[in-house]
Amino acid sequence: MTITVGIDVGTGAVKTVLFKIDGDDITWIDKQTDRVRNREPFVLAEAAFDYLLEKHGLTRDDIDYVATTGDAENIPYSTGHFYSMTTHARGALYLNPNARSLMDIGALNGKAISMNEQGKVLKYKMTSQCASGSGQFLENIARYLGIGQDEIGELSKQADNPEVSSGICAVLAETDVINMVSRSISSANILKGIHISMAGRLVKLLKSLKVTEGVVMCTGGLALDSGLVLALNEAMAKNKMDMPVVSHPDSIYAGAIGAAIWGAFRHGKLTQAETLAKAS
C-alpha cells in the first residue's frame, strides 16, 4: 500500500490531495483548495500539505511519494515532479474512465490533450500568442460586469442572442465589451459571446488532435463554468465532432489527482528497482 500526496500549484489556486493506493485499488482520502489571491503559493502549498497530514494523523515520513505538478518544480519536500499535461490526463481518466481527451482551461492558456486508456498523453495542443479568450480575460470581464465567478455559467446559459467579440487582443476585446455594454447588450449575451469564442478556440485545438472517441473531460480552473461547458458542446456539434464534453465537480483537482496517482506508480517502479538492486 502506498500513501501519496499530489500538490498542484496553479496560477489561481493551490490544490492538494491525499491518496491511498494499493495496486488498482485507488482511494481518495482528502482534498484541499486554496485560492492564491496575491498570497505566496508555496506557503499555501506547504500549509495545506501539513494540514492534511495532521488532519489524518500522518507525518511527512508516512508519505511514500509527494508528487508535485504545475508551477512547483522547486518544492524541496517533493519526491518528484510531473508536468501538468501528464497529470491532467491521468486525473481526467480517474474522474471519468471513458475520457480519451481533455480540455484544460486555465487562467492564461487552454490546452487540448488526447490520451490512451492508461492515461498516457498522446497528443496535445496549446493556445498561445495573445490572451484574449483566456480565463483571465473572462474573469476580468465578469468583474467589470459585476458578476461573480460562480454566476457566470448560469447567466451565460440564459443568452438569447450572443455577441461575439472580434478582438484578437485582450485589451481591444475589452473595449469591444465596453462598447457592447454601451449598446445595452445584456451581460448574458456578452458572457455567452466570450464562451463561444473560447469554446471555438478550444475545440479547434481538440479537432487538430484528431480524437474521435470517448468522453472529452474538462479540467482546470474553468471546468466548473457550466456555460463554458455548454458552449463547448455546442462548438463540438457545430464541428461535427460526436463526443460529449463533460465536467466533474472535482475537475479542478485533476492535476493533483494525476500527480498523486503517478507518484504511486513511480514509487512502485522505484521500489521494484531497489529490490532488484538489493537482490543482485
Binding site: D71, E73, H81, F82, Y83, S84, M85, T86, N109, K120, V121, Y124, M126, S128, Q129, W262, F265, R266
Partner: protein
C-alpha cells in the same frame, strides 16, 4: 590546455557580446582586413575566407538587446530577427562590417536586403541567391555564375581570389564541418557529457571567430568534455527541428534539458555543417562548391525538395541515426517556411510512428514555463512508459 569551463566561458562571452568585439579585434589586428556579415543560412564562407576576409554570422540580438528602431521598421506579425538586426545596424554595432550577405531564407530576410541598401547605400550588401533547381546544367550553371559574381564583389578586400586560395579555404571548411559533425556525434553518444547549451555555444562561436580558431576550439572542447565525469540523467532523447534561422534564447535550450530532454540533434546554425559530404579540393573550385550544394546539402524548409517521396525523410533519418525518441518542433513565431513545412513533417513522423511536440518561440521569449511544460510532459511520458 583549456578546461571545459574556460572554453564554454569564452563561448558564452562571445555569445553575450552584442558589439562583436572578437571580430572587431580580428579586423583591427592587421591593416586591410575586412569583415563580411551574413544572416543565418548557407553562404559560401570559403569565398570570403579565400579573399582574406572574415565571415561573421549575424544571428539577431537575442534576449538582451533592447529593440526600439527595429520595431519602428516592422509590424507586430513579423518575426524578431530582422528587427533586432536592424537595431544592431542602427545602433552602430555593425559599423565595422564591410559588407552584408542576405542568403536565401525567406521573404522577410530577402526584403531586409533591400532595407540595407536603403539604410546603408555606401556599404556593400548583396542578396545571395542559391538555386532551387538541382540540375548541374541548369541550377548548377546559375549558381556558378552567382558564385562568380560574389567572387568579383569580394574584390573590395583588395585581393584577387586564386583557385588555390579557394581550394585551401574549402579544405579548411571541410575540416570545420567534419569537426562540427564530430561534436554532434559526441553529444548524441553521451549527451550528459555535452549539454546542449554548451554544444550550442561552441557551435555559435563558429559564427563569430575565424574558422582556424574555431576548429581548435571544438577539438579542445571534445577533449575536455570527454574527460569529465558528469551525472547521467533519466532524460528522453529528442531532435529539435525548425530553429534554423532566428535563434532561441539560451534559457530555452537550457529549459528543454532541465525539463528532462536530451537534445541529440538540432538545426541550429546549419551553415556549420551544411554539406553532408566533403567538397572536392581538386578541379574547378566554383564547380566543386556548386555541385556539392546541389547534391549534398542538408534538407531544410527554405529549399525545395524535388522528390515528394523524400520530403521530410531527413528528420526520420536523424531520429533513427541518433536513437532519438521524439522530435520537438521549435519554430520561431511568424516563421513562414518552418511553420508551413511543419504539417508535412508531422505527417511524415506520424507515418514513421515517431512522437513529436511543437511550440513557438522568439529570440527574446521571456517565459519558459509553457516550454518546460511541454518538454516536461514529453519527458514524463518516457519516464513513465519506457
Amino acid at each position: 590546455m583549456a578546461t571545459r569551463e574556460e572554453i564554454t566561458d569564452r563561448c558564452q562571452a562571445l555569445y553575450d557580446d552584442l558589439t562583436f568585439t572578437a571580430a572587431r579585434e580580428w579586423k583591427a589586428a592587421k591593416d586591410g582586413r575586412h569583415v563580411i556579415g551574413f544572416m543565418p543560412m548557407y553562404v559560401p564562407r570559403e569565398l570570403i575566407h579565400a579573399a582574406g576576409m572574415m565571415a561573421l554570422g549575424i544571428l539577431g540580438g537575442g534576449d538582451n538587446l533592447e529593440v526600439i528602431q527595429g520595431d519602428a521598421y516592422y509590424q507586430s506579425y513579423i518575426c524578431r530577427i530582422p528587427r533586432s538586426t536592424i537595431e544592431l545596424l542602427l545602433t552602430d554595432r555593425l559599423d565595422f562590417v564591410d559588407g552584408m550577405l542576405f542568403p536565401s531564407i525567406c521573404d522577410v530576410i530577402r526584403n531586409l536586403s533591400g532595407m540595407w541598401k536603403l539604410l546603408r547605400p555606401d556599404v556593400y550588401s548583396h542578396y545571395f541567391d542559391v538555386p532551387q533547381n538541382y540540375d548541374r546544367e541548369v541550377g548548377g550553371e546559375f549558381y556558378i555564375h552567382e558564385l562568380g559574381v560574389l567572387k568579383e564583389d569580394l574584390k573590395i578586400s583588395g585581393r584577387k581570389i586564386t583557385d588555390d586560395d579557394l581550394r585551401n579555404s574549402i579544405a579548411l571548411y571541410n575540416e570545420s564541418r567534419r569537426l562540427t559533425r564530430e561534436l554532434y556525434q559526441f553529444r548524441a553518444d553521451k549527451p550528459w557529457l555535452a549539454p546542449s547549451s554548451e554544444v550550442y555555444l561552441i557551435n555559435r562561436a563558429g559564427m563569430l571567430i575565424p574558422p582556424e580558431d574555431h576548429n581548435q576550439l571544438i577539438k579542445d572542447y571534445i577533449a575536455a568534455a570527454s574527460e569529465e565525469d558528469r551525472p547521467k540523467r533519466d532524460n528522453s532523447r529528442v531532435v529539435i527541428s525548425g530553429s534554423f534561422c532566428e535563434q532561441p534564447p539560451l534559457n530555452l535550450i537550457k529549459s528543454i534539458e532541465m525539463s528532462g530532454c536530451y537534445v541529440v540533434d538540432d538545426d541550429y546554425m546549419l551553415v556549420n555543417r551544411w554539406f553532408t559530404k566533403e567538397v572536392p579540393t581538386d578541379g574547378d573550385p566554383l564547380k566543386a562548391l556548386s555541385y556539392t550544394f546541389l547534391e549534398a546539402s542538408v534538407k531544410m524548409p527554405s529549399c525545395f525538395e524535388p522528390d515528394e517521396d523524400n520530403k521530410g525523410q531527413f528528420l526520420v533519418d536523424s531520429v533513427r541515426e541518433n536513437n532519438a525518441e521524439g522530435v520537438i518542433f521549435a519554430a520561431t513565431s511568424f516563421c513562414d517556411p518552418a511553420l508551413l513545412e511543419r504539417p508535412i513533417l508531422q505527417d511524415v513522423l506520424n507515418d514513421a510512428d515517431i512522437p513529436h511536440i511543437s511550440f513557438k518561440y522568439a529570440e527574446n521569449t521571456g517565459q519558459m514555463q509553457p516550454i518546460r511544460e511541454q518538454a516536461g510532459t514529453f519527458a514524463d511520458s518516457i519516464k513513465l512508459w519506457s
